[in-house]
Amino acid sequence: MLYIRLPYAGGVGDAVAQPVEFDHRHHVRDDGIDCVYCHDTVETEAFAGIPSTERCMGCHGQIWPDSPETAPLRASWRTGVPLRWRRINAVPAHVYFPHGVHIAAGEACRECHGAVEDMARVVRAHDLTMDFCLDCHRRRQGSRAVTRLTTCSACHR
């Protein structure tokens, strides 16, 4: 009961090693690449989309073609074995979170993901508990009444 309220329990701020030391600060801040360029289905689909090796190579075929940083990428392209990223922001399997609708409703990515553009290595910004979701949904509908946004089957099926 108390444990579950600790940020630790929600995995907030856990540092997780990724196959490639991918730095969002650099790509978003320095290079000014828009989130949607890589997470290309986020605006319409449930799944935000993780760029394929092909997509990464699109740039890194020319840029840093022989940097050790991008070596795993080239290996994946060569062997056809996909990269295995570690999932940072996850909800349990019985929760259905559609990205598209949230973006369409005008939510900013940072509402749940935090300021990813400032993260060298992505960490979880919120514990993503049901309370966290409900609070936001209730703020958006402006009441505690149960509506399309706060009924069970909005997220659980």
Partner: protein
């Protein structure tokens, strides 16, 4: 719907998709709080075109059954086919489906198929077996094939016949030849009877389950609206079929007497044929005369050729041909040609090879032939079949048969329409298709795709065929044929004892689907029995034999004996019906192994399904796994029905069974988006396609015969059968009623079930603690409980619908109106900034229903099929007096019996 060129690069990514999914399944086990880095995300190496993660892509393809093609559309997600539905553009399905069509998706992931190819008892690969085929020495090759209509296969066989001595045996356990023999007797050639039931005022089914064909069911249902244009269905059969439950004039007779009735009918209509007058036939003849040219007579394949011949003659006598009935050349490749299994049994030792494709003759052929020995005697024998079944064990080599969604096929519908079946996933096992086998014999290295493609003139035709799922205008042209036939005197049913009528199982067919758990656990449309068969008999017969339900009975025919439990059913007195396909001894197919009794053992060498024999009670009983044991209404008005005349005279017939009850509770909100369902009991045949569709869509587990017998079957949607006092039978599909004042909701102590603003009764699995109070308080008993951990972790889990939670042990579950489809549509609409269009949300059961008996929509809808049913005067609520105000409502059953005089 889009085509799928299936370039090799996709194949790679499709496999990755499967990997991706495996991770997803693992995640299902994850606990309530996810931690960072618990799961992996596996992106594609290269993005496949036309693919967006998590988006359903629909492809057309084809299923083949009894030699005919059934066009389908398949939902695939991340490269994984997960759901099959009928293709509206294909004449055989017209968008509807059947239980076996819905269940075929399970076979695709069936671990029982994965036993792998083998030769001489040791594991082998298809390529190794194919090499053996290419290197066969010259000499006679025997090929056992099911009836087929594939132009590609026909072409290859012609080529093969030119190369070497080829003997083709067409093996259909339930012989379809009688139909063609009858036609041949009348017309001189085996013409096929085509039906346009939308034009039939009178439909006569002589021992024929006409409405089992989805397209025909759809057409016939269109004529069942109560009123002046309402059709009349006459059925006479030894045991009631789904068609029989809709019949307005129903007669139970010995299967052997159907011929006599057909003769009496023909005589009434002026044919000089030896007959005995028959009252039912006279009334029918009278009705037919009143509807000259607007009737159709259909005869079951089980009946002897003479009955088919009589029916054809009657069609002409009444001028039905050119009306509801047309004649074409058969779509099956020369249905009457080919040799028999008897020839094979004799010739096997002299053959260089015996090759059995997609058949299990060792199990289905008359035992006297002893095919197992014959196959063993052949120098080389190969079985290409779905499972490592009896024939596989008797053969030298075995290769798993490719599923239709794993390979390229083509086939014609009964009306001749050609369609191409495209694979939607790379085979999970080392498999071969019929085309592969024949191609190997031909030493033709072209792959199946190329061979099927050859049959098409250009790319345009090819892609159109793939996109639409049917080649437009390819149906067989009507042929004008006059009957020149003088009926020979035919043998009336002879022999004493009792009649034993063998029938195809409505669940597992002739046994080919015995390995499919969904179909094994599907309740029989009439007897509600699952997992096995029984000696089905009338109460009178049971009384005469001194048996009651579940007592063991020994059936004996000249060919053999069989011991099965008795079960009282709507069967003609003096007839015992036993369904085929069960009682297989197949250790490598656990689902089918030793379930029920093997009725093939009773068949004589002629392969007839209508036998005379004896039956006697033997010691012991066997528990039958039935899902419904009470058939009466017991004083409750839950299945109202009336003859059309009475209904037209009393429009308020069921008015007292609908509308709001006085209540102390605040009125329920019905504004805005409010979902509801309508079910028309007048056109529900009880075929049960909806039940399997629901199972496929909602990840519903199967629990096996023992658990079903203990009252723990899991189907969210069941079809209740009521035999009313007035002898009308009502099929009443029973999904969640979505009560506005739901008794289940206020008794849940943890709010795991409650009401959504759009009128859904929600069940939250992850909140449920399993008190089961909701089920006790559900007057409709539509809730199902996970008594054990029923979720499947085998490769079958790949079929799971990712949009639906896989329920764990100890939680309650129930029909949700396919809420995942509703929410998906809602979200699509939100993203596209529009409202949900009427008819945009289609539930799985609604999509599967061949007759359109199930309609789903919003209360606010106007002039949609749903809205029309909602405003129909036949609308009633089940258990209306309880004041639960169900959102699922029904239309009373109206029949159209012939006024008797």
């Amino acid at each position: 719907m889009t085509t799928s060129p299936l370039l090799p690069r996709h194949e790679v990514t499709r496999r990755d998709a499967l990997k991706l999914l495996a991770a997803g399944i693992a995640a299902l086990e994850a606990g309530c709080l996810s931690r960072a880095g618990d799961e992996d995300i596996v992106p594609y190496v290269a993005d496949p075109p036309e693919h967006r993660p998590g988006v359903i892509v629909r492809y057309t393809s084809l299923l083949v059954h009894g030699g005919f093609g059934y066009g389908i559309v398949v939902d695939t997600r991340d490269g994984r086919p997960i759901k099959i539905d009928g293709n509206p553009a294909h004449p055989a399905t017209a968008g509807g489906s059947t239980p076996w069509m819905q269940a075929r998706i399970l076979d695709l992931y069936d671990p029982q198929r994965g036993r792998g190819a083998r030769m001489a008892g040791s594991p082998a690969t298809w390529s190794a077996i194919a090499r053996r085929l290419r290197e066969l020495p010259p000499g006679p090759v025997w090929l056992v094939l099911p009836p087929h209509s594939s132009p590609t296969l026909a072409h290859l066989l012609e080529r093969l016949a030119r190369q070497r001595e080829l003997h083709v045996v067409t093996d259909a356990p339930l012989d379809h030849r009688a139909r063609y023999r009858g036609a041949a007797a009348v017309y001189g050639e085996p013409l096929e009877q085509q039906l346009d039931l939308a034009r039939a005022d009178v439909l006569v089914a002589l021992d024929a389950d006409v409405l089992a064909q989805p397209a025909w069911a759809r057409a016939a249902a269109a004529r069942r609206a109560p009123g002046t244009r309402m059709s009349r269905i006459w059925a006479c059969e030894p045991m009631q079929t789904p068609t029989g439950t809709l019949a307005d004039e129903h007669l139970l007779v010995h299967a052997g007497e159907v011929a006599a009735i057909a003769a009496a009918l023909a005589a009434e209509l002026g044919l000089a044929v030896p007959h005995a007058p028959h009252a039912w036939a006279r009334r029918l003849a009278d009705d037919l005369r009143r509807h000259r040219g607007r009737a159709a007579i259909v005869v079951g394949d089980r009946q002897p050729p003479v009955v088919h011949a009589l029916a054809r003659w009657i069609d002409h006598a009444l001028g039905n041909v050119g009306g509801p009935v047309t004649l074409t050349r058969p779509a099956l490749v020369d249905p009457l040609a080919g040799e028999t299994l008897a020839d094979l049994a004799a010739a096997a030792p002299r053959a260089v090879a015996v090759i059995v494709v997609d058949a299990n003759p060792v199990y289905t052929a008359p035992r006297a032939l002893d095919l197992a020995r014959a196959l063993a005697a052949a120098p080389f024998s190969l079985h290409a079949g779905t499972y490592a079944d009896q024939t596989a064990l008797a053969c030298f080599a075995h290769v798993p048969l490719a599923h239709e969604l794993e390979t390229w096929t083509d086939a014609r519908a009964r009306d001749g329409t050609l369609a191409v079946g495209q694979p939607l996933v790379r085979p999970r096992f080392d498999v071969a298709s019929a085309i592969d086998v024949v191609a190997a014999l031909l030493d033709d290295r072209g792959d199946a795709r190329a061979l099927v493609r050859e049959r098409f003139v250009d790319d345009a035709a090819w892609t159109t065929a793939l996109r639409t799922g049917a080649v437009a205008g390819s149906q067989a042209p009507a042929v004008a044929a006059a009957p020149h036939w003088t009926p020979e005197a035919f043998a009336a049913p002879t022999g004493g004892g009792i009649e034993i009528a063998l029938a195809e199982s409505p669940q597992i067919g002739d046994g080919r689907f015995a390995g499919n758990a969904w179909l094994q656990e599907l309740p029989h449309p009439i007897t509600k029995q699952t997992w096995g068969n029984a000696a089905l008999m009338s109460p009178a017969t049971a009384l005469a034999l001194g048996v009651s339900d579940e007592d063991l009975v020994e059936l004996t025919t000249p060919a053999g004996t069989l011991v099965v439990p008795a079960l009282i059913a709507p069967v003609a007195g003096g007839t015992i019906t036993v369904e085929l396909g069960h009682g297989q001894i197949v250790p490598e197919v656990p689902i089918a192994d030793r379930i029920g009794g093997d009725a093939y053992a009773l068949r004589g060498p002629d392969g007839s399904c209508i036998l005379r024999g004896s039956a006697k009670k033997v010691r012991g009983t066997r528990r039958l796994a039935r899902t419904q044991t009470t058939l009466g209404e017991h004083g409750r008005e839950v299945a109202p029905a009336a003859p059309v005349a009475h209904w037209l005279a009393n429009p308020g017939l069921v008015a007292h069974l609908r509308g709001d009850q006085p209540s102390l509770l605040p009125p329920q909100n019905r504004d805005g988006v409010q979902w509801a369902m309508m079910i028309d009991t007048s056109i529900c045949t009880g075929c049960s396609a909806c039940m399997v569709a629901c199972q496929a869509e909602n990840n519903i587990p199967t629990v096996g015969p023992v658990e079903v017998a203990r009252g723990r079957h899991m189907n969210w949607l069941r079809i209740d059968r009521y035999e009313r006092d007035d002898a009308t039978v009502v099929n009443e599909p029973m999904p969640c009623q979505m009560c506005e004042y739901a008794p289940c909701e206020y008794v849940c102590p943890v709010m795991a079930t409650q009401h959504s603003p759009d009128g859904l009764n929600e069940q939250v699995y992850n909140r449920c603690i399993g008190t089961r109070f909701c089920s006790n308080n559900c007057p409709y008993k539509v809730r199902r409980f996970n008594w054990f951990g029923f979720e499947d972790t085998s490769s079958r889990a790949l079929q799971y619908n990712p949009d639906v939670t896989v329920r764990s042990r100890g939680v309650m579950e129930k029909c949700t109106y396919c809420v995942q489809r509703i929410r998906r549509a809602e979200q699509r609409a939100l993203v596209e900034k529009r409202a949900i269009a009427p008819g945009e949300v289609v539930t799985a059961c609604q999509a599967a229903c061949p007759t359109g008996a199930i309609q789903f929509g919003q209360l606010a809808e106007r002039d949609t099929a749903f809205a029309r049913m909602r405003s129909d005067g036949r609308r009633f609520e089940v258990l209306h007096e309880l004041g639960t105000r169900p959102r699922t409502q029904y239309l009373a059953k109206i029949t159209n019996p012939k006024e008797s005089k």
